[in-house]
């Protein structure tokens, strides 16, 4: 009898005991994602930009003249085109454009991801609370969301920065986050509304679980994939807003961002004289936002099976 039991248990232990749904889901999602051409292009672009952002740390180490902000080539007095010394040329006081571009990548990632993360966090929490609580809390939060949603973000940030002088880059990030959560919270609220009628939420209620537990333990894992999807779209809009702000001269003057580079081109009158200076930041802004957008579209397909291409049709 005992021998029998021990053989049984040993047989069982061979089977994979621990399986995580998150990892399995990710694997499953990846298999759908990698079939998507747009998603692959977006991811490739993103990897290239990530490498650029990492590379931005090296040029100032090679020679202080390659510092994007303070490094000035002593031999150059005006903007020059690409050369071996400056691969993408220099700006009007002899700073290297490639170094500025690389530093701008880092800023774009920082602004985009942190603003998107904050707005997603706010949007998800507010959306879940509004959807779950219902009644007055729902009405209040959603009307607040409507009010913020109709405000033109760029204009409000412009007014604020003209009132308070030059804004710090983190203040800009925070402002973007504060103005971009309502879209997310509407989606998350809708999702929560349908989730809270599902029997497993009722089962948790019957168990005696607190509202806090139900929201963060039961509802959150179910809406998180959707918020992550929205994060990619929010990254795009945050980068564009920051670039527009910087181009209009309201950026953080102590950082080099792509929008700031464009503003320097414009202000020094090189708009049509120096395409080597104008094009790189413009192209980079477009491509980076495009890459996040493409990834978002591909992730949408992963999350929503209805968008998937039919392989075999009846």
């Amino acid at each position: 009898m005992t021998v029998n039991q021990s053989t049984q248990t040993s047989k069982i232990s061979v089977r994979p005991a621990k399986r995580f749904p998150t990892i399995e889901r990710l694997k499953e999602g990846w298999s759908v994602y990698k079939e998507n051409l747009i998603g692959k292009i977006g991811l490739t672009l993103l990897v290239i930009f990530a490498l650029m952002a990492v590379c931005s740390f090296f040029p100032p180490l090679i020679d202080p003249m390659y510092h994007p902000m303070t490094g000035v080539d002593p031999l150059i007095t005006h903007s020059t085109g690409p050369s071996w010394r400056h691969w993408l040329g220099t700006d009007f006081i002899g700073r290297d454009i490639l170094c500025q571009l690389l530093a701008g990548t880092r800023i774009a990632f920082m602004v985009g991801i942190s603003a998107a993360f904050m707005s997603i966090f706010l949007g998800t929490v507010i959306g879940m609370i509004a959807g779950y609580a219902g009644k007055i809390a729902d009405t209040l939060l959603m009307r607040l969301a409507d009010m913020i949603m109709v405000m033109p973000t760029l204009l409000v940030v412009l007014i604020l920065s003209s009132l308070f002088g030059q804004l710090n880059i983190w203040t800009i990030v925070l402002l973007i986050a504060l103005f971009r959560w309502p879209g997310v919270s509407r989606v998350i609220r809708a999702q929560t509304l349908s989730l809270k009628e599902r029997p497993f939420i009722e089962a948790a209620k019957v168990t005696g679980a607190s509202h806090f537990r139900i929201i963060f333990r039961h509802i959150m894992p179910n809406v998180l994939p959707l918020s992550l999807l929205y994060m990619t779209f929010r990254v795009t809009s945050a980068i564009i807003i920051e670039a527009a702000l910087a181009f209009l001269g309201f950026g953080d003057p102590s950082t080099v961002s792509w929008g700031m580079m464009l503003q320097w081109v414009w202000k020094t009158g090189h708009m049509f004289q120096a395409p080597y200076w104008l094009l790189p930041p413009g192209i980079c802004i477009s491509l980076l936002t495009l890459s996040f957008y493409m990834m978002g579209r591909a992730m949408e397909e992963v999350l929503d099976p209805r968008l998937r291409k039919e392989v075999a049709q009846e």
Binding site: A17, F200, E202, T207, A209
Partner: protein, 278 residues
Amino acid sequence: MKDPNTVIVQLESISKTFRTRTSFLTGSTKEVVALNRVSFEIFKGEIFGLVGESGSGKTTTGRLIVKLETPDSGKLLVDGNDITQIKGRNLKNFRKKVQMIFQDPYQSLNPYFSVYDSVSEPLIVHNVGDSATRKDRVRQSLKDVGLSPPDDFFYRYPHQMSGGQRQRVAIARAMVLKPEFVVADEPTSMLDASIAIHIFNILSELRKKLNVTFLFITHSLAAARYLCDRIGVIYKGEMVETGAAEDIIQNPQHPYTQALIQAHPRFRHGPILKKYIR
């Protein structure tokens, strides 16, 4: 085991009406009477079957008893205490004593929760024991519902199990706190007949073992007869007949009960078989 003298759940002329707003502009509402002055009581240790057609209010009755809904009027006594208005600490104590098994095992388990997460959740919510005792309780509960070896199921997720297994997990979750009273809302309607019998046997064994009282909600008189001590027949929100299971089946008084029994398919193999055997 069965104690016909102690009433555990008592409904006193419970009414519940659902209102749906039909028009946004006029704000006119449509009323659906789910329960109309329903009264009955359930004795400690028995399995009480609530039988009725779709929309008759049987599920609403179950949801009222576990306090997923509140009645519009009437009294609902559990263990002698009126639960229609309880809140806070009392509600939490009540939740510990009364559990529910849901109809659809595909919907009643969180897809992101492993079996262990689902079954241990009531213990965590009610702060029962430390992690080692919780593990033992979960293990015991899974054994009770016939999922063995239990450790093998700990880290499975709902999508990796069959319907019958999921429903057993749902039963284990309801039973892990050793509740006094459990509402089983058509626990087998999503499962096929052979598994349904397993589930019935699990329920009646659990009753013997843990001395739980069940409210068994079903649309099938046959299932009610198989499992229940007493049956209540509900029709359009009104309780039309209650009594011992055998009495109701053999000697139905109300025309609706008679119609229900008549509606059961019969197989008149007897006479035909006789012909062939002869």
